[in-house]
Symmetry: C2
Subunit: 241 residues, 2 copies
DNA sequence: CTGGTTCTGCGATCGCTGTTCGCAGTATTG
DNA sequence: CAATACTGCGAACAGCGATCGCAGAACCAG
């Protein structure tokens, strides 16, 4: 009696968080969504987001590619599950020790830690902004920090978005730095070779002198200058729109 | 006499900017690298970076996919050409009107404008950092701004990198905002529906109240608060590493 | 216990991607 | 005039996400 075609075609446009995992009938599934996410996270942690293919995940679960589509409608949904899953690592224990800005900063540092543990997250955020229950829990905590501020709802959301993208940017910078320490991305050699060649031509005088300067980085005054530059830049760029 | 196999396998690991475009012999090529980049940019501007497939670019040039590999070793190299090409839009006319920070800001705004004109650039920067001659010219100008500052070479480069990622973040925010005004990405409907549902459950109280608040965004005090939050966050995050 | 229903796992396959190989043809060189 | 070194490109390959339909397992109503 029930016409399943209608139901299915409609479900495919509904968020996975609103779709029931199963509905009682039939054989018991071999795993669940969270097991899927776990396998995906393991693969992404080890070999990057690109290694999370339906075939690879299926194999790591001892299953077949087509089977995964019983749990997930698309690969993007799998990434959504993965993203929400790692949000479970966020601890809310350090809150309440200072004012609202301190709390906001504690939350930002937690987010930063998650990004450092799972670098593929930055790739995810680059092309989408998945939202699951645990993401909402984090977002809710952030909003709580801004509770008493004289800001409209949209402004609060935007403030958190800007802060979040700042967290991502700095996490990316940190990861890039500790990636420099390791060996052999093959295309980096090529880029560095071109850079050295360009510096040698003298067409880019400032670049040439800067590359020669092999002095150590990071000083007290450097951090202060960063603040100056970024604050001023932020103001100038916000004003420009 | 010449053993081409050696040459080719070695060339494939050399930056495209160090590889000669052609070497005199044989028939004249049907186009050049820049024509390739132009076609790629046109496609990316119109339909996003994902639309820049070797087949699509070839077709828009009235050519065949395999032919492109006479000009470019991989698709990534094509993206590299595209990225460098749009850097030609940067104008250095507004420089010299103020102090070094003013100049740096003028450059940042130029970069922001390029990102807004070619949103796919943000996708490129998310997964790599292509460097071509025009990119180096821009970088050199930025370094010139920092010339008289008591900073090490590495610090100067890092300062510019942070600034650049800030530009990208804000550009992304702007693009997201003007994307909200347009119609229906199909997966956004699904996400918003879940968001409304989550707000209705009462599990995320602050989110619920914030979503109810439909008041207009953007005020003088909001921009000032942004500054406070972001500056403080930057300091806290830089200190944490 | 039985028959129908509803689900599951999955082999086979589709359309798409980036990329490679080798061949036919053409311009330059000695 | 040959030899050479290039060009464009048809055909093909491997890998990707995703779909279809079927065999079989679990549940429920009677």
């Amino acid at each position: 009696m029930a016409e399943q075609s209608e139901q299915q075609s409609e479900q495919s446009e509904v968020s996975i968080w609103l779709r029931p995992a199963r509905s009682g009938r039939g054989p018991a599934p071999a795993f669940d969504r969270d097991r899927l996410a776990e396998a995906g996270v393991a693969l992404a942690d080890a070999q990057g987001l690109a290694a999370v293919t339906m075939r690879a995940v299926a194999q790591s679960l001892g299953s077949a590619p087509a089977s995964l589509y019983r749990y997930v409608a698309t690969r993007d949904e799998l990434v959504e599950l993965m993203t929400d899953r790692v949000n479970a690592e966020i601890s809310y224990a350090g809150l309440g020790a200072g004012d609202w800005l301190d709390d906001l900063l504690v939350l930002a540092r937690e987010a930063r830690a998650v990004c450092l543990r799972h670098p593929w997250l930055l790739d995810v955020f680059a092309s989408s902004a998945p939202v699951g229950p645990r993401t909402l829990a984090y977002l809710d905590r952030c909003l709580a920090c801004l509770d008493e501020l004289p800001l409209g709802g949209k402004d609060k959301l935007e403030a958190i978005a800007v802060l979040q993208s700042l967290v991502a940017s700095l996490a990316r910078a940190e990861l890039a730095k500790q990636l420099d320490a390791t060996e052999p991305p093959p295309w980096r050699r090529a880029r560095d070779e071109y850079l050295r060649h360009a510096a040698a031509t003298g067409e880019y005088p400032h670049l040439t002198t800067v590359l020669k300067d092999a002095g150590p980085a990071g000083s007290k005054s450097a951090d202060e200058l960063f603040d100056r530059i970024v604050t001023r830049a932020l103001r100038g760029l916000l004003l420009a729109r």
